[in-house]
């Protein structure tokens, strides 16, 4: 299981949680698992079967776009961070 950090702008769609546990050995599997439990969240962060262009996904601090994208492996007890842009200042 990995820990997925939900950004404040998406917490409503994730049942109000700051972080949730998810199953999956790759980013794709983890996001599919999330989509099943939180379909509203999936609607926000997925786009045409891939990650939406304005959401970044980090596994253990590394952007998955610099790794293998959706096929990036996610180890047990890894931290996955979802990061959309924040504008507030």
């Amino acid at each position: 299981m990995s820990i997925v950090r939900i950004p404040p702008t998406l917490r409503e769609e994730a049942g109000g949680e700051r972080q949730v546990l998810a199953e999956g050995g790759t980013v794709r599997e983890v996001l599919d698992d999330l989509a099943e439990r939180y379909p509203a969240l999936a609607a926000r962060i997925l786009d045409n079967g891939g990650i939406a262009p304005f959401v970044n996904v980090y596994v253990e601090g590394e952007d998955v776009r610099t790794r293998e994208g959706l096929d990036t492996p996610v180890g047990d007890a890894s931290t996955v961070i979802l990061l959309p842009a924040m504008a507030g200042g």
Partner: protein, 390 residues
């Protein structure tokens, strides 16, 4: 018991002395010696030999190991007339320094004989008092403080982030602070925008900020831009010779304009953003790291981008993030430490935790990539991210 004169003569016999011509020649050679001026501050302020390092006689013993870690290094010491430097040379020999000499005619003789001298810019006495806590830090010192006084920093936004950032930058003596903000001070601002106050309600934020900052530090000159950043004014405002831009904007269209201008004008941007209890800080440095578009090539839809007016923010959160932005700005201006280039720092006020993710430059970035596709400013139209009504 010897007199001072006798003692001095004895010391001079025991050390090596050189004259102005010999010093001039050795300074021009391939490996010049370390030249130390041991006079008092006010003497140094009136002029010194080019290339000299200032270590007043009283601090010589405690500071020499930091100034000259290698005891086999060639060192020449001078004072006004060759007497204090003789004592200093003797002490350094006792400390194990192997190649020390004293300039016999001193600075007075050197100057009289027509050799070059230089007047350093140095701090005024009031500045030495005001910035004394900076001067005590080896990584800052007088040279660093003079750098700060010469620095030009532009702040986008005099709001939640701009308030603490501008206060700390002004306190630090950043000599020129530009502020871009078209808004006026509103009551809802005062829960967190600490550069303003109740007395300033209704005033333009740039004017309110200028009043606060110039009262805090008269060394600071605030340049006010009471306007909204757009494609029309971006070059005029952002291209005015800034050393660092501090992005404290509260909307995406501005942030993208700031980013694109910073890449085209080659100026680093210290980015900060906040929402409720969480904030982010990073430094976008052109050529060395990613830009904002490497991270987010396009703005998100309005539902994913609520502002503080819509979502709220804990008042102190921009204080933390804005202060971190000031910290990064000072590091960039001084050229010290490890700025957050390629690192996005995430702060969660509720759990009091910091996290970090790595940011990389995207070679396909539309603005800073190898084949840019965006070459002109874009005025994104912002829609309100409020609830839709039936």
């Amino acid at each position: 018991m010897p007199t001072y004169r006798e003692h001095l003569a004895q010391i001079k016999n025991e050390i090596e002395q050189i004259d102005s011509r010999a010093l001039s020649e050795t300074l021009a050679a391939d490996s010049p010696p370390l030249l130390i001026d041991v006079r008092e501050q006010d003497e140094w302020d009136e002029g010194h030999i080019p290339g000299a390092v200032h270590v007043p006689r009283g601090n010589l013993e405690s500071r020499i190991e930091r100034t000259a870690p290698d005891r086999s290094e060639q060192i020449v010491i001078y004072c006004a007339a060759g007497n204090r430097s003789a004592y200093a040379a003797k002490t350094l020999e006792e400390l194990g320094y192997e190649h020390v000499s004293s300039l016999a005619p001193g600075y007075t003789g050197w100057k009289r004989d027509g050799f070059p001298t230089v007047l350093s810019r140095s701090l005024e006495p009031e500045q030495r008092r005001r910035y004394s806590r900076h001067l005590l830090i080896p990584e800052v010192g007088e040279a660093g403080q003079l750098k700060l006084l010469d620095s030009r920093v532009l702040l986008i936004g005099a709001g939640g982030l701009g308030s603490p950032a501008s206060l700390y930058l002004a306190a630090a003596g950043v000599g020129t602070i530009g502020i871009v903000d078209a808004d006026i001070v509103d009551e809802t601002n005062l829960q967190r925008q600490i550069v303003h106050s109740t007395a300033r309600l209704g005033e333009p934020k740039v004017r309110s900020a200028a009043e606060t900052l110039e009262a805090l530090n008269p060394d600071v000159k605030v340049v006010q831009f009471e306007e909204r950043l757009t494609s029309e004014n971006a070059d005029r405002i952002m291209g005015a010779g800034w050393d660092v831009i501090v992005d404290g904007a509260d909307n995406f269209p501005t942030r993208y304009l700031v980013n694109d201008a910073s890449v085209w004008h080659d100026v680093p941007v210290v980015h900060g953003s906040i929402y409720r209890f969480e904030g982010q800080v990073t430094v976008f440095k052109p050529k060395e790291g990613p830009c904002y578009r490497c991270l987010f090539p396009q703005p998100p839809p309005p539902e994913l981008a609520p502002s503080c007016a819509e979502g709220g923010v804990l008042g102190v959160l921009p204080g933390v993030i804005g202060s971190l932005q000031a910290n990064e700005t000072l590091k960039l201006a001084l050229g010290i430490g490890n700025p957050l280039v390629g690192r996005l720092m995430l702060f969660d006020a509720l759990t009091a935790t910091f996290d970090e993710v790595a940011l990389r430059r995207d070679p396909n970035c539309p603005v800073c990539g190898d084949s840019p596709t965006i070459t002109e400013y874009i005025d994104y139209v912002e829609f309100c991210a409020g609830p839709t009504h039936a």
